[in-house]
Amino acid sequence: MSELDTTDDAPDVGGDGVTVIDTDEPDTTSDKTVVDAAAGDDTPAAESRPSFEDLALAGPARMGLSVVAAFVVFGLFLLANGTDPIEAYQAMWSSITRDANSFGDVLVRTTPYLLAALAVALPARAGLFNIGGEGQLIIGAIGAMAMAEALGQALPRIPTLLFMAVAAMVAAALWAGIAVALRQFTGTNETISTLLCNYLAFLVLGWLVFGSWKDPGATGFPRSRILEDSETLPTLWGRVHIGIVVALVLAVGLWWVLRYSPWGFRLGVLGGNAEAARRAGLGTGRLGASALMAGGALAGLGGMLQFTGVEGQLSPQIMSGYGFTGVLAAWMVRHHPVKVIASSMLLAAIAIGGNGLKIRAGLSSASVNILMALLLLAVLGWGTARARKAA
């Protein structure tokens, strides 16, 4: 919670915004005292006897221990499956450190994860849950493809890519706009609507790939045509495309915007205390809408970068699970736009390591979802000092 943020940026308004969401108990002070007493055998007792909390570990140490614990528990899962955890971790490690290319794969995978995570972190600043990154990535890729089709290689590479990026962001922002509109006009909870929209996005993708965009020459499963060279991202080295640079710049840029721009400040006020924001005349509806749609645009760009930098063609299951991984990455660092770089890279390394697990240890590559989940649980539950204690 906010404790995490105090270590480096004290006036982090958004951190407080997240704190509000975090409580599952009434947060008016009078209620809280009663309910804390209600817990009875829990809170007061924990205060009197020494506990994990009283070790007063500094933020990084606490975080580090939580991460290590997650790895240990995942090892127990592997043991239960009859797999040697040491060998499994060696397989994972070697598949990300074998050579420059394998480390490059981590950077390549970080790109969509990071943008999907920023798509969660930005609306979270305004107190909104966006779990529609999955669909927004897909719609971004679709928007990019639509623009490529419309341009028909009429332009050189750079303008083509710029147009595709803009199309991706606009398409995904409008897609997120569905949830915004449902929220504004009917009061539908955006957590649920963005979640359901993910399934619709995959259906739109299937409709296009099996329909008007189906490559008549493709054998086997339906796919779109392969992108032309002028429609694919330039590479830095090996398979590493410039998308990672774009993603890193945007992460730092978002941090700056949230911290120093008037818009970022207003979002923080909205997330921290919506009532105060309304009384200050901030136009809360439009402000929340802008946050959610800007988040959608970020995810859409992530979809475009993955599509033009890695996939090269649309297929029905493209980027499946990337959006949810972005949610995990954002929550692991409480939506901090710069720290999220680290969590996205960690999850990307685990995902790439999962491929090694599949090849070397014969486990399904989805097994690493356990490790990702454990990491988030460890950080959520033990990564920071218990907030209610401090209060």
Binding site: D31, L182, G187, L195, W331, I370
Partner: protein, 304 residues
């Protein structure tokens, strides 16, 4: 055609009925559990595997309920003891279920199944129209007919139900009664997890009769949406579940009969239906949300 759709609605909707009714009870206590999707997966694999190993689908269903409950306990512990965010924790629990069933389920992919067979109830089953729709199903489906009224009775006619609702509305009132809202919530989350586990068991051993990775395919998330759709009333939840699976059955029926409409447009119908009804009812049903549950979404509910 109507009969085929209604049969399909009941057959496909059963797993969602279990999950959604369980989640209704959980949410009435003031906890939202997005881990239902993971609990359903855990229930599906466990029921399938235990069914094969023991030869009894009933033992399988029981084990499935326990597996769903076990995952829900992770949610309960994290949310109630560690005070972690409910939405993020729920997603993590679902990821945990996804990964664990993928890891342990690998050796069970497309093995033979010890399945629940359909049992036609004598006399009732031979009724025209109604018989095949309601009285020619697997035993878990019959159990699902009872589960919503039972949950309703639990919530509105028992002391425990009163405490569950109080925990969801005004936990401080419970405190003055000398009851810990936290303990009540543990029970409600456990119940929801067990129901989701049975729902998953029905999916694997009676409906699909197979195990495949990620076979729940969003049904758990739909169940969570249906709870809101139903205004936190277990009886209405059932209507929502059958409406959703009826829409699925409707589009499958259209596909089977051959239509010019793209299957992807048809596949979208159930989701669009749920979103539309949610949107239509949200404004009016907002007041019906348990008060403590609203607090989960605090920062946002105050924006509109």
């Amino acid at each position: 055609m109507l009969e085929a759709i209604l049969i399909g609605a009941v057959r496909g909707g059963t797993s969602i009925v279990f999950a959604a009714v369980g989640e209704t009870v959980t949410e009435r206590s003031g906890v939202i559990n997005l881990g239902v999707e993971g609990s359903m997966l855990a229930g599906a694999l466990t029921a399938y595997a235990v069914g094969i190993e023991s030869g009894s689908p009933w033992l399988g269903a029981l084990a499935g309920a326990c597996a769903g409950l076990a995952l829900a306990m992770v949610q309960a512990f994290m949310v109630l003891r560690r005070r972690s965010n409910q939405i993020a924790t729920g997603l993590a629990v679902t990821f945990l279920g996804l990964g664990a069933t993928s890891l342990f389920g690998q050796s069970y992919v497309s093995q033979g199944v010890v399945a629940f067979d359909a049992y036609e109830i004598p006399l009732l089953g031979s009724l025209p129209f109604i018989g095949p729709i309601l009285f020619d199903h697997d035993p878990l489906t019959y159990l699902s007919f009872a589960i919503a009224p039972a949950a309703w009775w639990l919530l509105y006619r028992t002391g425990l139900g009163l405490r569950i609702r109080a925990a969801g509305e005004r936990p401080d009132v419970l405190v003055t009664m000398g009851t810990s809202p936290e303990r009540v919530r543990w029970i409600a989350v456990a119940f929801g997890g067990a129901m989701a586990g049975i729902g998953g068991a029905q999916l694997a051993t009676a409906f699909a009769r197979t195990w495949s990775e990620d076979m729940v395919a969003g049904r758990g998330f739909v169940a969570v949406a249906l709870v809101i759709f139903a205004g936190w009333n277990p009886l209405v939840t059932v209507v929502g579940a059958y409406l959703f699976s009826g829409a699925v059955a409707f589009q499958l029926e259209l596909q089977a009969r051959g239509t010019d409409i793209s299957i992807f447009v048809l596949d979208a119908i159930p989701y669009v239906l749920v979103l539309t009804v949610l949107a239509a009812l949200s404004g009016r049903r907002r007041f019906a949300a348990p008060e403590a549950l609203d607090k989960v979404f605090d920062a946002e509910t105050r924006i509109a």
